[in-house]
Symmetry: C3
Subunit: 439 residues, 3 copies
């Protein structure tokens, strides 16, 4: 029973074709050592369910990590009735139906037990990972790797490394960051010169492991200004030695480290994913993963120096505030190195996706459109999230391109294939002999 | 002749069912002593008509309060031809058709006279109020009561008191505010301690009369910071004695009074409606009620301290700038105590309502959705405004839920009923033994 | 083969009628001495194609002005395959099909040569201009005239002068501005008094040539404050003599010159087109015309003093950032002298147009709606751009007015005619005996 398919016959036809294609997923939080969920608590533990249930009235204690997994799942199931209107709930149902043979149309306190039993795969280990991978027809899933991730023990062609750099830029002053950096690189980081050297070592290690992107999430008030190494020297040294920092020194450190990362991306021809907008811990009493929000007063104009200076670096960009989507269309239409990347988090809701997608499809060169990524923590979510996007893409193309502009179905599918597969493969498909440029 | 019904048969079927339900209206400006319009000038006097006609070229003098009501109506009728495209005009027509047997499809200088005659109910008094109440199938209509409203002389189960607090927060320094406060409470307000006591007295009096919400409208630059009573003492005293205030002192006063109100809402478990955005008197030469606008650069991020500190207070929130709607979706999805409340004023236009509603229905827990309120000044407006919303709700559910996700009509109506009736009844249905929490 | 027509039969019927009407185009960059394109390079040279192709990967050198026109066209054709999804490409195709008998559905490196040959009209001169004018059924096209334009040599009833004032406000300190001003007016501009006199002379000269609007584009951080002539005197003198200026002096100069222009618009009853938002040269390495962007953090609230003070001046307003469109609806609904003007540049994309248009049609008095302008540099673009708008207008009226509110087709067409023809004719149709007011 699959209900998340287009109702319109023309869109349905496009969707059915797309549903046969492999999935290339350029951003996720999958753990390559444990990609699929071993039980249904790992599915329900996705922050969307715990935070929506908490928002609906569930005390956070009911999903406390210390509880047995089955208890957490049963507790959460009591509150699913309040969120069964949400699109996130529809992913849950599609997972239960697709991967666990669930035949009902709502998950309730009554049926959670049998569903939990059906979804129990602790004993199957990698075989279950393979089942989900194949059933989802996955081709590649990008990871989010800490800079000190050993990057060992999995097939990096399937689970593609991505160097996540938030800690280096935003938390350099924390003791654990420096300690991890020294350990990961073997460089005795003491000042900007050795910090620079250590970051280079990180890039080289990641490159040797097949990294395809550098990534960072940035708060709305971050402004990437050109580096001023001389000026940054003292603050960087103070940060590395955990001395007190003034706000302007914090800003100086973020600026120089971020700029240094962009320089390495230029040197090593690596796309630099910018995920713009989140403010961490706005709601400290929230559940894990459900505490971050944003300030909608943000503009890509603040990024002009970066885009201009690093003309050779491709910047795939996601914006968090839904109302910032139109600005990203304009910047992607003008800057060759700015690429709109998927639909992120608070913007990953069908009406926002549809509005952004319609505009991108009509105003951004088609070879720059990177349709979607799952942002998933468990492999099971990749398929329903991509299906949600493929449905909207099919409906948009049926309405705007086929009915609206007289395109053939074939031409519409060509564009869909570019957006879903060819562009992300090419854009992130760097090798030493190949440019990371968008064409 | 009813034209404001959905064209799509599936949506029409949903709408027809909703149209049989009672209306629960959690925010209006109805005068409970004179709820229905006694004549058609009181209908046409709604600021939407005078301001739109004025914007279309009508001199403000033509609707001056000193003119005879019939003359004002005749004058305004000359300009209705310029605004018969607007959704506000459609409410007017629906009122004329539903309540006054008007059979034409436009109100013109030619037929305004006979319509005025038909709508004359000065002699019918309360009987006409009852007629409109019953014809509209009203269950409850919330008021907007000044803090010194005697709250006497009407059935507070039908016309529900709501404590409006703009004057206390924004105009404490004006002599009339303090005078009214002293008179209403019997407290000799001279400093912060006595101010605090007086506000407590107000809450107790309103509670004894069945108040169901505290409410305030706040300008876009207001930032609710935690109270600092010590620091506020001097400015508050200066304000209460009409001494000159520096801007930072004004800010201090607003902050402490607002925070104090939130504390009382917490103590007395009263929802605190926040209506965020308006700037008063941006266009001083406008008609009465048609002078306020907004600055779209506003963010709920400024409200984080409030939402965190008062976890036990429910904040139903309306935003004025249409482009701020998506941020409210995100904050309602995360904060248990943030609830999206209706569609307000400049955002109360079908395309904005539809965009906001689609997102809320797919991303906010369904037990937190408070669909709509009329904001009406005269009872006749409640029905057409709710019908406008019910039409959009029906169309959205038909498209996104029934066709889009395979829901049954029954399930779609369940959600509609929650949004229109069950949620506002429960959320605002406090009693001494019952929590104001959202579930 | 015309594919950009509505698919819905009701909308098609409206569109077909609108397509028979003349076009009144209140803003363009047409050169009246050379209005139509003499060859296809002049069509492909429109910044949309060069900037989108450049964004898609085309080196800017391939369309360098020093290259032979045919080479530039051939070079660009290599990259059109990357932008054939865009709405801008659809205008290109419609031009090729409508004016040059192009029968294929894509412009490729293979067929660009023959298309170039077909579009060669260097030898036809004004006869080709007339052909395009008549085939497009044009009635009037507004120009963008530099303040020192001699305004000679064309029929100003067809190509209507519009005084563009960016240089005076934003570049007064540049030597060439003062020199041009002195030359154009014969006034020995040395201080604010003589500057004021010279601007008056400009207005009189433009008025004698049938000017119908004053216009300016303003950056998002511009705030029009009331003039303070005394305070501005020193900075203006320093600017006129190219002395160094502090940022606050620059601001003072912009303020006083802008306010002075508004005063002359009031005196001479000329609408003042405000095009709000662009920041020049954000991407300096871009192609000509493709370097400007915006900061979305902009608000019309900054314009309140202007709108209030100049109640007698009509301000047709375009906003650049698509997300600012809803604020313009609100300001147009309240201020009699604020008029929403068309859909501009980065906002001129069907989904943004549709969203803005739906709201304007339902919330702004219909006598204030100025539907569209081409912003074109060559005459061939007026028709496809207006057709794009007429299609969206037809679809919106079919859905929201005819199906949504039960209007007759006749009534919908009445509104379309007002929006497309009657309003711009009346609003910009000033003569010495006629007011520029909106009704």
């Amino acid at each position: 029973m699959m209900t998340n398919v287009p109702h319109d016959p023309q869109a349905r036809s496009l969707f059915d074709e797309m549903a046969r294609w492999p999935i290339y997923d350029p951003h996720s939080h999958i753990d390559p050592h444990r990609p699929a969920a071993r039980n249904f608590d790992e599915v329900l533990g996705y922050h969307y369910y715990t935070e929506l249930a908490h928002s609906a009235g569930m005390p956070a204690e009911l999903v406390d990590p210390s509880l047995p997994p089955r208890t957490r799942a049963e507790n959460l199931a009591e509150f699913l009735k309040y969120i069964d209107n949400t699109i996130q709930y529809s992913w849950l149902l599609e997972i239960a139906q697709t991967f666990h043979g669930f035949a009902e149309d709502r998950i309730t306190p009554k049926n959670i037990g049998s569903l939990y039993d059906r979804a129990e795969h602790a004993g199957d280990g990698e075989s279950w990972d393979r089942t989900v991978w194949e059933k989802s027809h996955l081709e590649a899933v990008f990871l989010t790797n800490d800079f000190d991730d050993p990057l060992k023990g999995w097939d990096t062609k399937k689970y593609v490394p991505c160097l996540r750099t938030d800690d280096l830029v935003l938390k350099l002053h924390e003791p654990s960051t420096v300690a991890r950096l020294r350990k990961a690189t073997g460089v005795d980081v003491q000042d900007f010169a050795t910090l620079h050297q250590a970051i280079g070592t990180l890039f080289e290690r990641f490159l040797s492991k097949g990294v395809r992107a550098c990534a960072i999430s940035l708060p709305p008030d971050f402004v990437p200004l050109p580096a001023a190494p001389k000026r940054a020297e003292a603050p960087v040294r103070r940060a590395l030695h955990q001395m007190d920092l003034r706000p302007d020194e914090h800003a100086e450190i973020r600026t120089i480290v971020f700029w240094t990362l962009a320089e390495y991306c230029a040197d090593y021809r690596l796309p630099f994913d910018l995920m713009i907008g989140p403010i961490r811990n706005v709601y400290p009493a929230g559940v894990a993963g459900g505490r971050d929000l944003f300030d909608r007063r943000v503009s890509l104009y603040d990024y002009r120096a970066l885009f201009n200076h690093f003309a050779g670096v491709t910047f795939p960009i996601s914006t968090l505030s839904p109302d910032a989507g139109a600005e990203l269309v304009a910047y992607s239409w003008i800057f060759p190195n700015v690429v709109p990347l998927g639909h992120w988090w608070y913007s990953n809701i069908p009406p926002y996706i549809a509005a952004d997608l319609r505009a991108r499809l009509q105003a951004v060169p088609k070879n720059k459109l990177v349709g979607y990524y799952s942002d998933a923590y468990k492999l099971e979510f990749v398929l329903p999230k991509f299906n949600m996007f493929r449905k909207i893409l099919a409906e948009t193309l049926a309405e705007d391109a086929i009915r609206g502009r007289g395109w053939s179905e074939e031409r519409a599918l060509e564009l869909a294939r570019l957006v879903l597969l060819d562009n992300p493969r090419r854009l992130f498909g760097r090798s030493d002999s190949e440019s990371a440029s968008v064409i």
